[in-house]
C-alpha cells in the first residue's frame, strides 16, 4: 500500500510536467488548428532560461549585491522566465507560423519541426555540448507520512502546476480574451467580424502556451537538475499525445490527460521492467484513442476552414 501511494506521489509530479506542457499544445492546436511541434523545445528553452535567471539571481545574492531570500529568487525566476519564454513563443508565431496561416497544414507542421531543430542546435551552438546543472533554489526537506516519503519539492511542483491550471481555466472561461480564444477555436474565419484581431489572439495564445511550458521547464529543473538540449523532444511528443487525448478545445481535458499519462507511465514501471515502460504505456493510450478518437472531452467538430 505504501509502495502504491509512493507511486501516486511520483505520478502526480510527473503528470504535472506533462499537463503544463500539454496545455500549450492543446491551446495552439484548438485555436489555430496547428500542431506546434516546436513546443517541446520551447519547454527546453524555458528550462534553460530559468536556469540562467536563477543562476544570475543566486550569484547576485551570493556576491551580496542584492540579498534575496530563496523563495523570492524562486518566484522571480518563474516570473522573469515566463515573460522571456512568452516572448520567444510570440517570435516563433510571428516568424514561423503567421506567414503560413493560409498555407497547407503540412507546411506549418514541418515549420514546427524545423524551429524545434533550430532551438536544439542553437542551444548547442551557444552553450556547447556540456550539460548544465539547475541551481538548487529550494532546500529539500523530506516528510514521512504513514511510510510514504514526500519531499517539499514534489508538493510545491504539484501545487504550483495546479494553480496555473486553475488560473488558465478561469482565464479561458471568464475573460474576454478567453472568450475570443474559444470563439476562434470554433470558427476562426468570422472572428474578425467581431472586431477581434486574429493576429493578436494568435500571439496571446503562443505567449500563454510558452509561458506555461517555461513553468514546466523550471519545475522540471528543480526536480531533475541536469538539463540538456534534447530534453524537450520526448517530453514534447508525450505532451502532444496528452493534448490530443484530452480533446480539442478542452483545458480540463489536456490537464487530466497529462496527469493520466503520468499515472500510466509510473504505474506501468511499478509492475513491469522500466525498459518496457513507454512500450506498454503508449499501447494503452493507443487503445484509448481507438475507442475515443476525439479524446476525453473533444467533440466531433465541423472544421469551418472556408468562408
Amino acid at each position: 500500500m505504501t509502495y502504491f501511494l509512493q507511486n501516486v506521489v511520483n505520478a502526480l509530479q510527473w503528470g504535472s510536467f506533462y499537463a503544463l506542457i500539454a496545455l500549450g499544445y492543446s491551446m495552439v492546436y484548438s485555436i489555430l488548428m496547428l500542431f506546434n511541434f516546436a513546443h517541446g523545445d520551447i519547454f527546453m528553452v524555458g528550462s534553460y532560461i530559468g536556469f540562467g535567471v536563477a543562476a544570475a539571481l543566486v550569484a547576485l545574492s551570493a556576491a551580496g549585491v542584492v540579498v534575496l531570500p530563496s523563495w523570492l529568487i524562486f518566484t522571480l525566476t518563474i516570473l522573469v522566465t515566463m515573460i522571456l519564454t512568452a516572448m520567444l513563443g510570440m517570435a516563433v508565431e510571428r516568424v514561423g507560423y503567421r506567414p503560413l496561416r493560409d498555407a497547407p497544414r503540412a507546411s506549418a507542421a514541418i515549420t514546427g519541426l524545423m524551429i524545434g531543430i533550430i532551438l536544439e542546435t542553437g542551444n548547442l551552438a551557444i552553450l556547447g555540448a556540456r550539460r548544465v546543472r539547475f541551481p538548487d533554489l529550494i532546500e529539500s526537506v523530506t516528510y514521512e507520512i504513514g511510510g510514504v516519503y514526500v519531499t517539499n519539492k514534489k508538493i510545491m511542483i504539484v501545487v504550483v502546476s495546479l494553480l496555473f491550471m486553475v488560473a488558465m481555466q478561469y482565464f479561458v472561461s471568464k475573460t474576454k480574451w478567453g472568450m475570443a480564444m474559444r470563439a476562434m477555436a470554433y470558427d476562426y474565419l468570422v472572428v474578425p467580424l467581431m472586431g477581434v484581431s486574429i493576429n493578436s489572439i494568435a500571439r496571446l495564445t503562443f505567449a500563454i502556451g510558452s509561458a506555461l511550458a517555461a513553468v514546466a521547464g523550471i519545475l522540471y529543473g528543480i526536480a531533475y537538475p541536469v538539463l540538456d538540449p534534447y530534453m524537450g523532444v520526448l517530453f514534447g511528443w508525450k505532451a502532444f499525445v496528452a493534448a490530443i487525448l484530452g480533446g480539442r478545445g478542452s483545458i480540463m481535458g489536456a490537464t487530466l490527460a497529462g496527469f493520466l499519462l503520468g499515472f500510466i507511465e509510473i504505474f506501468v514501471a511499478m509492475v513491469f521492467p522500466s525498459t518496457l515502460r513507454d512500450l506498454i504505456a503508449y499501447s494503452i493510450i493507443l487503445l484509448i484513442l481507438v475507442f475515443r478518437p476525439h479524446g476525453f472531452f473533444g467533440e466531433p467538430y465541423s472544421a469551418k476552414l472556408r468562408l
Partner: protein, 237 residues
C-alpha cells in the same frame, strides 16, 4: 454619401468573381443587392469587410476614409461596419450573451455596451429568454436574431447582411425584417444581399442587380419591381 465603392474587383485564384462594380450608399438608406446564386453577392460583402483581398485599382471610401487602409477587425471596430455572414456563423460553443459580448471586444464604452445589450434583448425577447443557452442549441430563427444582434453590438454605422431570409419560415422572415427596419430607423444604414428578390425589394428603398460579377441594373425598388427583366429573372414571371 456614406459609402462609395468604385471598380471593385475580386478573384478567387484564376476565377474572377467581381469584374469591377460601382455602387454607393447614402446615410440611413436600406439598399439591397439581388442576384442569382454565384453572382458575387456574398463576395461583395466579404470584400467590404476585408475578409477577401481586392485587386489593384479597387477603391472603397467610407465616410471619407479609404476602407483599404483598415484590417478586417478594424473595419468593424474603427469604422463601425458590421456584417451578418452567410449561414449566420454563430459561435455555437458560446452562450447567447457571450456571442453578443464578444462582438464588443474592441469597444471601450462600457455604459453604452450595457444599453446596447438591453436594446438587443428588447428587440429580440426570445434571445433574452435564452441568454445563458449555448448558441448552437438555438432554432434557425433564433440564430438569425442572434446573428443580427451580434452585428448590432459590434458596429452601428452600417450593417451588411448576407441572405438574412435564408432557411426561415415566412412568418419568421417577416419578424426578422421588422426588426431590421427598427434598427434602421434608429440610425443604422443597411446593405443586404438576397436571393429572395421580392422580399428584399419590398424592404429596401433602392436596389442593384448583380449578374455574373457585373452590376446589370440599378434603381429604386419600385422601378426594379416593375422592370420586366427583373420580373422575368428574379420574381418568378
Amino acid at each position: 454619401m456614406l459609402f462609395k465603392v468604385e471598380n471593385l474587383k475580386v478573384s478567387y485564384g484564376k476565377i474572377r468573381a467581381l469584374h469591377g462594380i460601382n455602387f454607393q450608399v447614402d446615410e440611413g438608406e436600406i439598399i439591397c443587392i439581388i442576384g442569382a446564386n454565384g453572382a458575387g453577392k456574398s463576395t461583395t460583402l466579404r470584400a467590404i469587410s476585408r475578409l477577401v483581398p481586392v485587386e489593384g485599382d479597387t477603391r472603397m471610401t467610407f465616410m471619407g476614409k479609404n476602407l483599404l487602409d483598415y484590417e478586417a477587425d478594424q473595419v468593424v471596430s474603427r469604422l463601425g461596419i458590421s456584417h451578418v455572414p452567410e449561414g449566420r456563423r454563430l459561435f455555437g460553443n458560446l452562450t447567447v450573451t457571450e456571442n453578443l459580448k464578444l462582438a464588443t471586444f474592441a469597444r471601450k464604452d462600457t455604459a453604452q455596451i450595457a444599453n446596447d445589450l438591453e436594446r438587443v434583448f428588447t428587440i429580440f425577447t426570445r434571445l433574452h429568454e435564452r441568454s445563458d443557452q449555448k448558441a448552437g442549441t438555438l432554432s434557425g430563427g433564433e440564430q438569425q436574431m442572434l446573428a443580427i444582434g451580434r452585428a448590432f453590438m459590434s458596429g452601428r454605422k452600417i450593417m451588411l447582411l448576407d441572405e438574412p431570409s435564408m432557411g426561415l419560415a415566412p412568418l419568421l422572415m417577416m419578424s426578422v425584417f421588422e426588426a431590421l427596419k427598427q434598427i434602421n430607423e434608429e440610425g443604422t444604414t443597411i446593405l443586404l444581399v438576397e436571393q429572395n428578390a421580392r422580399l428584399a425589394l419590398q424592404f429596401a428603398s433602392r436596389g442593384y442587380v448583380l449578374e455574373n460579377g457585373n452590376l446589370a441594373l440599378e434603381g429604386t425598388s419600385e422601378d426594379l419591381l416593375a422592370n420586366p427583366e427583373v420580373k422575368k429573372a428574379y420574381l418568378g414571371g
